[in-house]
Structure formats: C-alpha cells, structure tokens
C-alpha cells in the first residue's frame, strides 16, 4: 500500500504525484522540489533558480522545456529534469537521482589557504574529465549535500583548480576549506554552465567583473582566452569587501605583466561597488563581451546596466553564485 502524505488538506492541494512509491499531494503553484521539501522528503538542492543543477530528479513523463533547458543530452535521455523549475503534473511518476549517473571520483591533491577565508583547492579526477574554463562542477560534501564551484584552471594545467570561500555556517565550504581535505577522494560532477570563452571573435574587447570567488571563473576564462590567442583588450575588475578579500591580487598582477592586452583593476567596498566603477569607466559597451561572476545581486544589476550601456544580451555571460536558503 502506498503512503499518502499531505501537509495541508485544503483546496490548494489538488495535484497528486508519485515520488519513489510515495503519493504526494502537491500545491500546483509550487515547484516539484518545494512540494517534496514541504513534505520533509530529502531532495538535494541549492540555488532554486535552475542554475546549479543539484536538484535533478528523474521521470519518464513529459516535462516543461524550461526544466530541461540547461541539461546535457545524456541526462535528458535518462529522464532527468530540474525539480526546482518544474510544477507538478497530475499523476507524474518521479524517481530520485542515481548519483552514479553523474558523479565521478577525484583526488584532492592540494589546498592552499589564501587571505579572506578563501582556499585554492586542486582536484585530480580519475578518468577522463573535459571542461571549459569558467564552467562549474558540483561537489558532493558531507551528508551528500551538493554545492557548485567554478573552475579557475585550464585543461593544460592537468589539475582542476577551484576557489572556495569558507562560509561561517556553510556545510560544504567549511569541509572543503579544512586541512583534512588534502588526500581525500571526493565525488564531483561533469562540468556545466554557459559562462566560458568562445574563440569566435578574437579582437572583441572584453570586460570582466568579479566579486569574491567570482574571480575563479574569470581567471579560467582569462587564461583560456590567452591560450587561444585572444587579441582584443581585456579589462578585469576584481572587487571584494576588504583588502583581505582580494585573495589573488599578486597572481593577477603577474598575469597583467604577462598578457599585453590585460588591465586589472582592484576595488574594495570602501571605494564603492566594483561594478559601478567598471560601468563608469566603460559607459559604452557596444561591441563588448561582458563576463559577470559572483554575488547574485551584483550580477543581476550589472547585467541590466551592461545591456543599457548597449552590450548585446548575447554578449553578456553571467555566473551568479546563488547560495542555498538557510534551512531551519
């Protein structure tokens, strides 16, 4: 016999779905994810915005285009969809994700502690691993909680580099930023995301704005563009709350000396938001390629401003580091 779960027995709960043999009464206005969470069913999730891909579930039923748009064909073929982007459909049969479908083992080969509670962490995947610098991987942490981290390395480094900011109460970031992590075997997903360099217009000027560990994807994209002989000028703005948060200033100065097309600007909150400084210096972005990474509010605001400054939407690449909501 199937268990029937229903939190509020009111008219809102009109739709019934099946999750792993459990009948779940759903509020049709909420996502599948929120409906399952409301019934205290454990489903992995983080951003709830269709970005991080940690909320994957499986179904053979038809789902909305939106809940599959960012997924690779191999995952779609297996019936995966993003549960945060899908509303419940009457009679839908849902299965939990099979972690072997998208996780592989990797060795944590090193961790270097930088200022501002940031660590550079180096990973060596077992077996093939292809990625574009600037994409992100999902890492499975304690209690199978999954979080996303952007790739700062380029493939010829032969090691994957990520930058992790340690959050005071953060489950996965604190685990990654501890000394015990070196030498551990951890589970990582394939690389995902659309924020990377395309060598289609190598003379195009590029504006890069990153706050905090938003520098990680920018560093990957920057180095990738130089290895692919990008000739256009690059203006990189790196902002943090304070000096300590500018955790990779030395390496950026070295790169600035090495890459003739690159200019790096640093900013702390004392001098005002880095995105405002960048837009003030570049009021006309017609023809520019723009990369925005880090704080979600900064990314959202600056995307609008870059568009109003005449950058084409198709030339704006954004990577918003949305955090999970604090659960009680």
């Amino acid at each position: 016999m199937e268990v029937i779960l229903s939190q509020q027995k009111n008219a809102d709960c009109q739709i019934t779905v099946h999750y792993e043999g459990t009948v779940v009464k759903c509020n049709p206005d909420k996502s599948v994810l929120d409906n399952l969470l409301d019934q205290s069913l454990a489903v992995n999730h983080s951003c709830k915005k269709g970005v991080c891909l940690t909320c994957l579930l499986k179904t053979d039923d038809k789902v909305d285009v939106k809940s599959r748009a960012p997924l690779k064909a191999t995952l779609i073929e297996q019936g995966y969809f993003l549960s945060c982007q899908q509303v419940p459909i009457e009679g839908m049969m849902i299965k939990s994700a099979q972690s072997t479908d998208f996780f592989q083992q990797a060795l944590v080969s090193n961790r270097i502690e930088k200022s501002g509670y940031v660590s550079q962490i180096f990973l060596k995947p077992y077996g093939d691993f292809s990625y574009k610098p600037g994409q992100f991987i999902n890492i499975k942490g304690p209690n199978d909680i999954v979080r996303s981290y952007s790739i700062a390395s380029i493939p010829s480094d032969n090691v994957i580099e990520i930058h992790v900011k340690e959050h005071q109460y953060g489950v996965v970031s604190r685990w990654l930023c501890s000394d015990k992590i070196i030498g551990q075997e951890i589970e990582i997903s394939a690389a995902n995301g659309e924020c990377f360099y395309l060598p289609d217009n190598q003379d195009q000027p590029m504006l890069m704005i990153g706050t905090g560990t938003g520098l990680a994807p920018l560093l990957g994209i920057l180095r990738d563009s130089q290895s692919q002989n990008h000739r256009g000028k690059i203006e990189l703005y790196f902002g943090a709350v304070d000096e300590a948060g500018l955790y990779l200033a030395d390496q950026l100065r070295d790169l600035e000396a090495e890459y003739i097309h690159l200019t790096v600007h640093f900013g702390t909150l004392k001098e005002g938001p880095i995105n405002d400084m960048a837009l003030k210096n570049h009021p006309n972005l017609k023809g520019w390629r723009v990369f925005l990474c880090g704080d979600p509010e900064m990314v959202k605001k600056t995307k609008t401003k870059a568009y109003l400054a005449d950058a084409a939407l198709s030339d704006i690449y954004a990577d918003a580091f949305d955090l999970a909501e604090i659960s009680s």
């Binding site: 979600p296 959202k300 609008t304 568009y307 109003l308 939407l313 704006i316 954004a318 918003a320």
Partner: protein, 120 residues
C-alpha cells in the same frame, strides 16, 4: 483589402527593431524597472517581443487569459505603471518613425489589454 496593421508597421522586422529600444526604456524608468529586472534577461526580452507583436496586431498565441496570468504575480502593479509602459510603447514607435495613424492603432490595442494586465 488593405494590409494589416502588423504589415503596415513593418512586420517581424519592426518588432525586432523595436524590442531593444522598448526594453531599454522600461528598464531605465525607475518607476517600473523593478517589474522587468531579472537575471534571465533573454526570457524577459522574449516576453517584450510577444507584447510588441500583440500591440502591433501581429500573429500571436497570447490570449487575454495568458495576459492575466503573466501579470498576476506582480505585486503593486497599478494604473500609473500601465500608463508608463504605454508611454514607452508610444515613444518607441515614434522613434522608429511609425506614422501617427498606425501609432494610434497600436496604442488602442495596448489599451485593450488594460483590464487583463491589471487583473480587473
């Protein structure tokens, strides 16, 4: 029979030309920009394209019910906001050199969505 409003304004090419002008106007207007600000700007731009296609009398599958649903979640949306958007539509058409008669027709179509947009 005379050509439809959509064809007289310039069809899909006119919608393409108008969408960026129109979207930039609403985003720059502090009294309404919050309704249009989102990380998914491509999707929002597509919505503006649909709206312009409707206002231009073009082929669309947008019913009054869709119009209602699309605006239902927008808290605090009122008469003044509707007027501001209509103003930007008119300014966009004028900027593109659409003749006054056609601008008038498009504004009348936009006005007809009033009750659905405001959920009245």
């Amino acid at each position: 029979m005379s050509a439809s409003l959509f064809d007289r304004i310039g069809g899909n090419a006119a919608v393409d030309a108008a969408v960026d002008i129109f979207y930039k106007k609403v985003l720059s207007d502090d009294s309404i920009s919050r309704f249009f600000e989102t990380t998914d700007m491509d999707a929002q731009r597509e919505k503006q394209k649909k709206f312009l296609t409707v206002a231009f009398g073009g082929p669309n599958d947008y019913s009054g019910k869709d119009m209602r649903a699309a605006h239902a979640g927008l808290e605090g949306l009122n008469e003044a906001h509707f007027g501001a958007v209509a103003g930007h539509l008119q300014a966009t058409l004028e900027e593109l050199g659409v003749p006054a008669a056609e601008v008038g027709e498009a504004m009348a179509i936009a006005a007809s969505t009033h009750d659905d947009v405001l959920g009245l």
